[in-house]
Symmetry: C2
Subunit: 464 residues, 2 copies
C-alpha cells in the first residue's frame, strides 16, 4: 500500500476499535490468499467490520480514497476470488457471525455473512430443521462466501444451490448504499429481482451484510446410501433418469475406478462390492423411499444398467459408503492435482466425457486424469495429477493448455467452465467460453451501476 | 401512431408476411388491453413474430425509428402491464407457440413464449411429468407472460413460483441482441445471473423468445384435499406451521366466511361442514402423506387450533372442495370488485390483517371487503366490492384512496404491494411502498443498460 493509503488507514481506524484494523505480516499473508494458494497474495491491511454500519463506513472511506476492497469469508475458494494481489484492503467478515431471529412459522433465520456453514447446519438441526447446502469445506466456509459464489455441493439435485436457500439479503453497494432485498417474501412482483444478481457475483457488486436463510423441515431421517457399480458409461444418465422419475434422490454421485484406487491406497477401507468396475454411483435416498428404490435397483440390475450394488443397513454403513466418494479429494492431494470444476447438461455428459478423454489422452498421454462429480446436476470435477518427475511450474503451464482444450469442449457442449467454484482470477481468461461477449459487456455495465468507482473486488470475474 | 410510423410500418411489413402485421380496428382494441380493462388501450398496430429472427428484426426496426413496443401474451394480466395506451406497436407472441426438445433425462422442454400454460401442463402429463405452476387464468395465460411477471398460483409453497421452473431463457434486448441465458445448467458460477433479472421484469428489459422449462416427476397421484374451519384468525399461521413441519402440503389456502357466502349464493353446492366459522383452510396433500396428515389434523382438533374438518374420499370430492376456494373470484365478479394482491410474511399476517380491517372499517364502513389467499406464502387477495348505489368512477376513486391506506400498512409490515400481478401501470405510483428509492434508481439504471432507447414496454413499472 502506498504511503497515502497508510495515512488514510489512520482515518479509517478513527471510526473503529483497535482490534478491527490489523497489519501483522502473518495475517496479511493469511488474508491475502484462498485455498488454491496459486498466487502470493498479501493484503495491505485487514479490517474486521462488526456491523452493517462499519461496512458502510469502510466502503465510504474506500470510495473517497479510491481504495480497492477485497471481501473475505472462510477463504475456502478455489479460483482466487478472495485474493489480494495488489496490497488491497481485505474486509474480513470473521467478526460478523451472529445468527438471530429464528422464525418457527416460516423456518427462517437471519445470519451475518461470517457464520460458518456447519454452524448454520447445527443451528437448524437443534430446531428440528435442516440447512441443505453441504460440501467438503463446510467446516470453514462462511455463508457470505457461499452466497457470493452460489455454492452447491452434494444435495443440489434435491434442494438446489445456495440461491434456493436465500430469502433475503442486506448488501452494501460500491456507493455505500444499504439495500434490503427480498425480505423474506416468497412472492414479490415489484420490478427487477436485484437479490439474485448479488448471489454469485463474487463480491463485485456489493458486500453482503445479512442474509435471511430458509431452512427446511423435517430433517431427512436416517438417509440410506446405495453404492452401484456400472460397467458402461452411457448407462449413467439412464440410471439417473430411471431413479429420478420415480423417487427423489438426495444425492447422485459418480466416481471412476481410478479415483477409487487412490482412495483405497490412502486408507484401509474394505470395498463392499465383490468386483471392481470402471464407474460407481453413490445414491443417497430418504428412508421412506427404501422399498421403491430397491425395486428400481432390481429392475436396473435385470436390465443390465448396473452390475452390482449394496445398500447401507445403518447410519455407520451409510457414512462408510460416503467415504469412498468424499475421500477422493484428500487422497489426490499428494499428487498436487490441477482441478477443474465444469458442468454440462446431464444428457450430453457421456458424449462430452468421451471427447474430453480422447483429446487429453492424445495430447497429454503422461497425465493421469481423475473424474468424479455430481452426475445428477451435470457437475464434474476433473483432476489432472502431477506426474512425479514434472516440475510444478511446467506442470501448471501444461495444465493451462489442457484447460483450454477442455474449455473448448465445454463450449462446444454449451456447458460451463465453472459449476460452483466461480471465476475469480483463475478462470477470468476463459469467461467467454461460457458467457457471450454481449453478456460480458452487459455484466460490465451492471458492475458500473452498482460500483461506479470499481472499488469492490476489482479484477475478479472480468477486468473493466 | 404518427404518419411517419405508418410509413415505417410498410418498411416493417417488407420483411414479414402479410398475416404478421395487423391493423384491424377490433384487433387493435383487443391487443391494446389486458383483463383489467381499466384503461381504453388501443394498439397502433399488432405484429406477430414467428421466430427469434422476426423479433430481432422488429426490435431493430423499432430502435431505428424510436417506436415503442408492447409485449403481449395471453393478456390475462391485472395490472395493465401489457396495455398500449399511446398507440404503440403491440408484439403478440400468439404465433410463437411451439413446444420442442423434450429431454427425458433432464425432464426439460423448450417452449416458445406464446405456449398457453395449460398446454404445457398437458404436454408434461402426457410424458409422465408435471408442470407445477397453476392458477385461475392457466387456460389462456402464456408462458412468456408467466415468466415476465414471475407467476405463482396455488402450488408455490411446494414447488415455487415460475422462477423455479425456468432453466434457460433466450431473450432479445432493446438493442436487438440475442442472449442465451441459463441454458439448462443447474450449476453455473460464471458471473452475474442475468436470467433471473428478466424473470419478473414485465417485458421492460428484453422480450423472451424461448424458455427452457424444468418439469417435475412423478406427477402427484390423486392428491387429497382437507377443508378445515377455524374460529380464531391467530390460529392460521400456527396451523400452517403445525402441518408444514411434518408434511409438505401442496397448497394451503385460506378464505373467509364472507367469501364463502358469495360462493354459496352463486351456486347450489352443499357445504360439507356442519357449522360455519369465520375462516376456512383448504389444504392439498399427496396421498402418501394421508396418515400423517390425519394424525396432525386430530392433534390440531384436540388443541383447539381448528374447529372441524373434512377430507376428500375421492378425486370428485377433492375437486368439489377446491371449488369453494376457486369459485370465489367468479362469485364476486357481479360486484365489480377492486382487487389487490399483496404479500406479507406469514408470521406477521394476522397482526397485519387486524390492522387493515380496522382501518378500512373506520374509513369505509359501507365497503364489503373479501379476503382470501395463499396463506402458506403470505399472499392475500383483497377484494373491495362496489356498493350497488355507488357509481363506478366514484367507487374507483375511493378504492384508490383505500389502496393508499392498505399499501401504507403493507410498507409498515415490510410486505409487497404486488405478490404476483406485477406493477404494470396500476401500481406504478406505489412502487416505492415496497422498493426503496435506491432500488428504484438502480432498476432505472439497469433498464438503460438493456434498453438504452427505452423502446421496450416504456412507462411500465416506472417512468424513466
Amino acid at each position: 500500500m502506498s504511503k497515502r493509503t497508510v495515512l488514510n488507514l489512520k482515518e479509517l481506524k478513527f471510526h473503529l476499535t483497535p482490534d478491527q484494523v490489523v497489519t501483522d505480516s502473518d495475517l496479511l499473508t493469511l488474508y491475502g490468499q484462498d485455498w488454491l494458494k496459486q498466487w502470493n497474495g498479501k493484503a495491505g491491511a485487514v479490517v474486521f467490520p462488526k456491523s452493517t454500519e462499519d461496512v458502510v463506513h469502510i466502503v465510504n472511506w474506500a470510495k473517497s480514497h479510491k481504495i480497492s476492497l477485497i471481501p473475505s469469508g472462510g477463504r475456502t475458494g478455489l479460483s482466487g476470488g478472495a485474493t489480494a494481489l495488489k496490497g488491497e484492503l481485505v474486509v474480513s467478515f470473521d467478526k460478523m457471525n451472529h445468527l438471530s431471529d429464528f422464525n418457527p412459522v416460516e423456518q427462517t433465520v437471519l445470519v451475518e455473512p461470517g457464520v460458518v456453514t456447519q454452524t448454520l447446519q447445527e443451528f437448524a438441526l437443534e430446531r428440528d430443521c435442516f440447512f441443505p447446502v453441504s460440501f467438503a469445506a463446510e467446516g470453514s466456509s462462511q455463508i457470505g462466501g457461499n452466497i457470493a459464489t452460489n455454492a452447491g455441493g452434494v444435495h443440489v439435485i434435491r434442494y438446489g444451490t445456495m440461491r434456493q436457500s436465500v430469502l433475503g439479503l442486506e448488501v452494501v453497494t460500491g456507493e455505500g448504499k444499504v439495500l434490503n432485498l427480498g425480505r423474506g417474501l416468497i412472492k414479490n412482483a415489484t420490478g427487477y429481482n436485484l437479490m439474485n444478481l448479488f448471489i454469485g457475483s463474487e463480491g463485485t457488486l456489493g458486500f453482503i451484510t445479512k442474509a435471511l436463510i430458509k431452512l427446511l423441515s423435517p430433517p431427512p431421517k436416517d438417509p440410506l446410501v446405495f453404492l452401484f457399480s456400472v460397467e458402461n458409461k452411457s448407462h449413467i444418465p439412464k440410471l439417473y433418469q430411471h431413479f429420478k422419475t420415480q423417487i427423489a434422490p438426495m444425492a447422485f454421485e459418480m466416481f471412476t475406478d481410478k479415483a477409487l484406487n487412490h482412495v483405497m491406497e490412502s486408507s484401509d477401507a474394505v470395498f463392499p462390492l465383490e468386483n471392481r468396475s470402471p464407474f460407481y454411483i453413490l445414491m443417497e435416498i430418504e428412508e421412506s423411499d427404501k422399498e421403491k428404490a430397491f425395486d428400481l435397483f432390481e429392475k436396473a440390475l435385470n436390465d443390465n444398467l448396473l452390475q452390482d450394488g449394496t445398500l447401507s443397513q445403518n447410519q455407520t454403513q451409510a457414512r462408510e459408503l460416503w467415504k469412498f466418494r468424499e475421500n477422493i479429494t484428500e487422497s489426490l492431494s499428494e499428487h498436487q492435482p490441477y482441478k477443474n470444476d465444469i458442468c454440462v447438461r446431464t444428457s450430453v455428459m457421456v458424449e462430452f466425457l468421451d471427447e474430453v478423454e480422447e483429446c487429453l489422452k492424445k495430447q497429454y498421454p503422461e497425465f493421469e486424469v481423475i473424474w468424479f462429480g455430481h452426475i445428477g446436476d451435470g457437475n464434474l470435477h476433473i483432476n489432472i495429477l502431477k506426474p512425479k518427475n514434472l516440475e510444478k511450474d511446467s506442470f501448471l503451464k501444461q495444465c493451462e493448455k489442457a484447460s483450454a482444450i477442455l474449455f473448448s469442449l465445454v463450449k462446444k457442449y454449451q456447458g460451463t467452465i465453472s459449476a460452483e467454484h466461480g471465476i475469480g482470477l483463475l478462470k477470468k481468461p476463459y469467461l467467454n467460453y461460457t458467457r457471450s461477449e454481449e453478456e460480458i459487456e452487459l455484466m460490465k455495465k451492471i458492475k458500473r451501476v452498482f460500483d461506479p468507482d470499481g472499488i469492490l473486488n476489482p479484477g475478479k470475474i472480468f477486468d473493466l
